[in-house]
């Protein structure tokens, strides 16, 4: 059994990872509540943004421009998809909407593999300027990127909660979460509110992609499927509570990284989000409700 000393650095990295999962999870929930879409291409748009940023940095474009482009491109792709397919699928089953975003995932996946081939064992990396600086907490080395990861998670969670609570647009989104038709009859410009949700979710996807590319790895497959981890956090919160998503994301990030020094479990640490989400879903759905509405499981 490893000593307490061995665990310390992983607490920090776990919190950073959890923070990024949290901001992804919040993005997913906002979009789901506003449009009923579980956006499974969240990781793919982030991955593409990160790859674009990598190419720009390699073409000696200033870093901050590349990072902005990364976040913006993810937002634009998501918004474009939302405008094109959102209305067409608006009245379909949530399952159909989710599967349609898998179509987008495949398209993006193919494009990324075409443009940024992974042959030859070359590995790409994004380094943010925050990687170099840092401070020591006790005996643990903390980089600013890790601080940004956790900080962004906290900030996005708080800001989104306040946004949904206090602004007009946020109120409209909450209304849409309850009933799209009634909200439309009340004079809310439904399409515009949905577009805002798509854009916001996409921007968060780009941000998550950038941070994860630095904290984990810049690789299309890895980043695309990291969405599953943030989705796990959102699922534990039953795609509803933002606060619960934050807590779940932090717990997932922490457990994942804290398993690293334990020899026997280290190889299985990637199962953390899946197992936690599966258990949570099964426990939460113990009370089986049969209803005629197709909305809820």
């Amino acid at each position: 059994m490893p000593s307490w000393q061995d665990f310390q650095p992983f607490i920090v990295s776990g919190l950073a990872l959890g923070g990024v999962y949290a901001l992804s999870g919040v993005g997913l929930i906002v979009l789901y509540r506003a449009t009923g879409v579980v956006y499974l291409a969240f990781g793919a748009v982030g991955a593409m943004g990160a790859l674009i940023a990598w190419s720009l940095v390699n073409a000696s474009v200033p870093g901050w421009v590349a990072w902005l482009v990364c976040v913006a491109s993810a937002g634009v792709v998501t918004l474009g998809y939302g405008l094109l397919f959102g209305p067409a699928l608006a009245k379909r089953d949530p399952l159909v909407k989710a599967v349609a975003t898998l179509g987008l995932t495949l398209v993006l996946f193919g494009v990324m593999d075409l443009l940024w081939t992974t042959g030859g064992g070359q590995s790409r990396a994004i380094t943010l300027p925050t990687d170099n600086g840092g401070f020591t907490l006790g005996q643990i080395q903390v980089t600013w990127t890790q601080v940004v990861g956790l900080g962004a998670g906290v900030a996005i969670t708080v800001v989104t909660a306040a946004f949904l609570r206090y602004t007009k647009l946020g109120t409209a989104m909450r209304a849409m979460a309850n009933d799209r038709e009634i909200t439309a009859t009340l004079g809310v410009p439904v399409r515009r509110v949905e577009a805002a949700a798509w854009l916001g979710c996409g921007l968060l996807g780009g941000l998550a992609g950038l941070l994860l590319a630095d904290l984990v790895a810049l690789d299309a497959t890895t980043l695309t499927f990291l969405v599953i981890s943030s989705l796990a956090a959102a699922l534990i919160a039953r795609l509803r509570s933002i606060a619960l998503t934050f807590v779940a994301a932090i717990v997932i990030g922490l457990i994942h990284d804290l398993l690293t020094p334990i020899q026997s479990l280290s190889n299985y640490r990637d199962m953390t989000p899946f197992v936690l989400a599966a258990v949570a879903l099964l426990v939460l759905s113990r009370r089986r409700v049969i209803s005629l509405s197709r909305e809820e499981a």
Partner: protein, 354 residues
């Protein structure tokens, strides 16, 4: 077949068997011709490269059949079928290395073990419906992939896992003695696949098929009609897992060597994409889907086109199917052909039959 099914009180006499209509006969003839061609003509006509590709088509036709049953017949979307296939392949490979059992027995065992595991996983997951079920299968598939990456596929080593990291000379997974060559193994896979299609067809035509149709329409209504919803959903899961497990067994012999990297989670998504594109509502759709998934990449590879274009095509295909053509290609193409025929007849001058 439906022995364990809910027994209803009314013991209505069975309607007399209807004589098969012209449509049924034509369909049977078409199936027979296709089977004969693939059994006797294809192995002779095709190069070994395409024989291998067609063997993969036969294997994946079973996988798409299983997923098509779940999606099209019962309305359950599973995003973890490739993990199920991996379980089947793992079981078969382990048995093939450990025993000298005849190949059909191994296939059956792979199917049964996969069925047991699939049902075990399916039982709690069936509390969930629709979106949540799809997402939990994605999660479980991710978990299985992680386990497989650590455990690895058997390579002739000892112990339960049968994996020996130090072995340099990895023995190939054996094939049945009657089907050692590639063309012979292709015939073998086609026959196994045909049997699986028959199994699925029988289910669809009898009581489980009708129960599934009712569940797909509306679960509460099916429940109210006295259908044991949980039983039949589980039955569908078990059947799909069995078929996929058998496919895994055939796959093990087809490729000789198995690696955990060959079963990525991403493939489960592609699988769902081609099943939807092929058409989840008909058995033909499964064949079309398997051709899309395995023959098309082989053709493109031959032409020097990157397989990434195919991924993009599948993505667009899913979006197209979901927005405009829910029946998929198996439904769409005959309709389009009929429409084209009508158009031609209308525009061609007399003599074309009007």
């Amino acid at each position: 077949m439906a022995g364990t099914a809910v027994r209803t009180a009314r013991a209505r006499p069975r309607p007399p068997l209807q004589k098969p209509g012209a449509g049924t006969l034509t369909r049977a003839a078409v199936v027979a011709v296709i089977l004969l061609i693939s059994l006797f003509a294809l192995p002779e006509l095709l190069s070994l490269y395409y024989v291998d590709a067609m063997t993969q088509v036969a294997v994946y036709a079973m996988v798409t059949l299983g997923l098509g049953l779940l999606v099209g017949r019962v309305g359950l979307v599973s995003l973890g079928q490739v993990a199920v296939l991996a379980i089947g392949a793992w079981t078969a490979a382990r048995l093939l290395f450990a025993t000298t059992l005849p190949y059909p027995v191994v296939l059956l065992a792979a199917g049964v073990v996969t069925m047991a595991l699939g049902t075990l996983i399916g039982l709690p997951a069936l509390r969930l419906r629709g979106l949540y079920l799809a997402l939990i299968t994605l999660m479980l598939a991710g978990a299985i992939t992680v386990v497989l990456a650590t455990a690895n596929f058997p390579n002739g080593g000892h112990g339960f896992l049968g994996y020996d990291a130090s072995s340099v000379h990895i023995p190939p997974i054996r094939r049945p003695s009657i089907a050692a060559s590639d063309p012979a193994y292709f015939r073998y896979s086609v026959i196994v696949a045909a049997l699986m299609f028959l199994l699925a067809g029988v289910h669809i035509k009898t009581r489980p098929g009708r129960a599934w149709a009712a569940i797909r329409q509306s679960e509460p209504a099916a429940l109210a009609a006295g259908i044991n919803v949980t039983l039949y959903k589980l039955w569908a899961f078990a059947l799909a897992s069995f078929i996929t497990g058998v496919a895994g067994g055939v796959l093990a012999g087809a490729v000789h060597y198995l690696y955990s990297i060959g079963f990525p989670t991403q493939d489960s998504i592609t699988l769902l994409a081609v099943v939807l594109m092929g058409g989840a509502y008909s058995l033909w759709g499964a064949v079309v889907a398997a051709l899309l998934l395995q023959l098309l990449p082989a053709v493109l590879h031959n032409w020097g086109v990157s397989a990434d274009w195919l991924t993009i095509l599948f993505g667009l295909g899913v979006l197209q199917v979901l927005t405009t053509a829910p029946g998929g290609l198996a439904d769409q193409v005959p309709k389009d052909l009929a429409r084209l025929g009508r158009l031609l007849r209308r525009h061609l001058p007399s003599g074309a039959g009007g």
